[in-house]
Symmetry: D5
Subunit: 149 residues, 10 copies
């Protein structure tokens, strides 16, 4: 009667194994042939993996079957609010505070009354070389959903 | 001894004039030849405009000089937290809650210890046609800054 | 240079006129031939009305054109959190606190990983006679959206 | 002098056994012949079960008697507020924020001064096929209680 | 197009007139032949009055018809949380913090799984002479409602 | 050097033993010849018991001496705020939010400037039969204390 | 139908008149022959004054009768929490955070289970000369109240 | 590589030993010849003790050397906010809410612009016999510090 | 009976006059021969000015005597917490979150148990040219105060 | 499959070893030839160390390799908000509340629209002898970043 390992415990095992092996997230994503941001989020506990994906990750990182079982669970999504004050994450929150109302205006101006879906949605991450210092480029790409009664 | 109009009051005048004239934000941005998201944010009070930009906007929208004076002020930036629960804005906050820790991992993996700047930074907004429903595409593009003592 | 009336001010005018004329919300919804909950929410400031709807409501309630102008504005949605502690509204919040996690389980069990849309969504309100005391019956009906990358 | 297992620990055992056996909540509810949402909520710790219900569930899922003892306890009800930001649950909270004040108006308009009970109350969950995408249909059905001194 | 006076403004007029005339709340309750706590709460904006009650109060206190109109409105109930730290009110909150869980235990022990209604409910206030100092005696009297699906 | 058991741990042992033996709180209060609400609150950790009371309770419920030692400790009083959202407890908080300011008015009207003590104070709990459904009757009875410099 | 001036508005008039006349609070307290801290608190809106006290203060400071009327009102007590972060006030809050639990221990050790009353209570303020720098000496003096059922 | 015992764990050992031996805080303070409030606060983890003080306390209470080691650590000061709602401690917070702004006025009136130090500071605790009930007398005595650039 | 202008209103007049005249804060500080950060903070309402300083500023900026009267008032200090999320100010808060515990360690290591005073304290602001981009250099310089009973 | 030790656990081991050996932070910083504030912050978990730095610290303090492994991890930065109320740390927060808006004004006045970087940033700590009492001198030195689209 041992309950399934929690997703946060599984994430801690994945993170430890990744650091000890010196692997990038991109290397792991390539191993399971899945998008980079999706894979990273899933291994941190924000998306359920298929059995095949979970087992391939655990084989690759030499982790127990208990971790693979946990990675397949349906998650309760969302970050601990305390984490949002880490400077690397906070800059996204600051950008939202400065540009959020402008983006709302532009969504309505271009599409009408509705939202950008965060479910039918993907996020891409890239590095763009720049002579003044390379840049982090993150793209949010979500289906427009109009208010429809 | 009349103090300068607050930027929120100025934003309300701009918004009213825009709606009454039936103008898009893109049309106004074109008028002052400035980027779309930047212009929208500036007119909502998040960036100072140059005197020339402010006066051209007020001419175009037939607004008083008091509005133009206010648009040039240095702002105190940030949105009212209550606004962040509007569904159109909230989806960005939700995406940050789900993907923020993953983006932090990827920034460190690709660039090392540091952040994406929210100051040397631009945001672009686009509509991408898609047979399954058009998509909102938003790009955050910020210079990487490494922790440097 | 008079800015457009805020939607909360417009809602206050609508509410006063409705009470003084002794009209039900259902009567007003019938007048503009729109769904009951939608109409009530729109007049409280949560949905934009078409010009025709706004003008018909203002004619019917003998309200100024300034109210009709305001009713057509794109809203910033969401209730003041203080209002959620009113006992009539709080019972919905309590039900969500007691049954929310169960509903999440059932959405996933029946549909897989995804959500009930709150945008492609309708709410119906009905009274059901019952010998032990009539009942309030509220139906949430939203399109299922699966997490799709 | 071993104290009774907490309801959250019991819920974790139930959830683990359910996933490992690949059973739906509907299958478990059928086993104890109880309503679907009620059963799910009870097994998550929000309602006390009768001894017979608790023992049947534990037999069915092959769980210890300690779980059955816990399932019969009187609960302290309510979800951890952090859980309410999971996207699948959050959409209900968003709907309440957008439509709550309208529903209050309609309760008063139709029934007078009072509330929908959240105690003499049931919740139903259904899937409604729809060519544009199946829909989640959730019904709140509570007795009207008028303010009565 | 003057909107109806808010209930907090009406309450302020009632309170001022009461103090200036040197009247007790009991005297006003007697005037409209209604229970003491109910009348006080209603005049502070927590219950709607009938037209007859509202007009009698305004006649008695020599207040405008605008106040009487406001007193009949359906209220949004609940006190400003800041008010709950006033020492006279805080002692009730403290008693609830110390005895609330015990009262929950006793409700369940005596009645089973359910609640004391706060809607089918009355509150009485009395002074009980006592040689060691008179006592404030407040009685909460609510119908028991059992969880009934 | 084993520290004394915490009062919350002691309360958990008392609660478990009470449920397993099928005893009411009233039966335990009778056993130690103390008031019902006081006894329940004390066993939940809100009042210190005398050595005699603590030992009698532990004899009666067959609990270890470590529990009796803990029950005699001076408590830090107050409920976990999360518990106050349990529906059975919340109705008391709601009543306080609706009637608290009215009770303050009546205390001042009848007694002058001061408070109802929550220290020289008792709470009684009773069931009152009623053909329309039995009622929960809770009486707060506290000494009036006037502001005295 | 002009309502009574609020106590915060009255306090603002008192403060302005005091500063303009260059009077100390001690001088005003002497004028009405009342304790220093009590008088200051009462004029800031935390205690009701008698008619005689209120009128003498307003005569002395040449303030309108509307101020005197307000000073006699029963207050809703308590400071705006924002004010508690002013450095001069914050040091008291800091002392409470550091020494509060110790003072609780000592109250119980010396007096038994109970509290220091904040109602039958006085506060004194003094300056004590000291060669290392004069000292602020504040004395809280409250009747002990034992928990008495 | 066993880390040093935390100060809260050390405080729990001190408190348990004190209660079991039936010793007052005054008796312990006398044993180490230190002020009463200081000693109590230090043993609760708010001040570092010297090695000699810590060892004498642990000898006297028969506690392990690990406790003495912990008592000498530099603390992170401040009480858990939840503790501040215990009624015995809360009365101090209430007094601060009622009298804090008045004390600020008096500090400025008597001393000018500055604060009472909470560092060069002592607190004394005394019982004052009184025929109407003995009184708790607490004195805050801190050096005045003027704003000095 | 016109009360004194609030310090926030005075600050708004100063800010408007400064911008309209195109003056730097350094120019104003030079005019009254006071330190730069102190002068800026005082004009924003955080320090009282002497009569001479206040009058010189108002002469220089051509502001009414009412502003000069307000600038001399004793302030209630502290910024609106909302302002702390402006990016330019937030970086200081972030530095405190990252380095605050380290600075505490170093204060204790170098000076013993105590604090850096924020009262006997000055802040300096400078620009330091740097070929990689000029730097903002801010110095906090406060007297060490040791815990002294 | 043992996960890597958390940085807070590693910090606790470092702190214990430092105290037991009687070493200053400056002595440890000298050992690894790194800046003082940086080293202290890194050992408290706010910066990643290189392998060489981590191993030298652990050799010097005789700590296990598990601590050295943890010290090299990428941190999630930020202090527990509860720690910010410790008096030694709070004075920095208070200074920020009093002077933050002034520093923002001066940054804009001297540099234009932008911020002081908290990433390309260093903090220095020094003791300055002073006949009136030695002083804590802390310097924040960050690159100016202008808003650049």
């Amino acid at each position: 009667m041992t309950p399934i390992m929690s997703k946060s415990e599984a994430a801690r095992h994945v993170a430890s194994a990744r650091v000890r092996r010196g692997l990038s997230w991109a290397r792991i994503a390539a191993e399971i042939d899945a998008p980079l941001v999706w894979t990273t989020a899933a291994l941190l506990g924000q998306h359920p993996m298929t059995r095949e994906q979970a087992e391939r990750v655990c084989d690759f990182l030499d982790l127990d079957a208990a971790v693979a079982e946990s990675l397949q669970l349906q998650p309760t999504r969302g970050a601990d609010p305390a984490v949002l004050s880490d400077p690397t994450i906070y800059r996204f929150a600051e950008a939202l505070s400065v540009y959020g109302p402008a983006l709302k205006e532009l969504v309505h101006d271009e599409f009408g009354d509705g939202i950008m879906s965060a479910i039918n949605f993907r996020v891409d991450f890239a590095r763009r070389p720049d002579p003044d210092g390379d840049r982090v480029v993150i793209t949010f790409d979500g289906k427009f959903l109009d208010y429809r009664w």
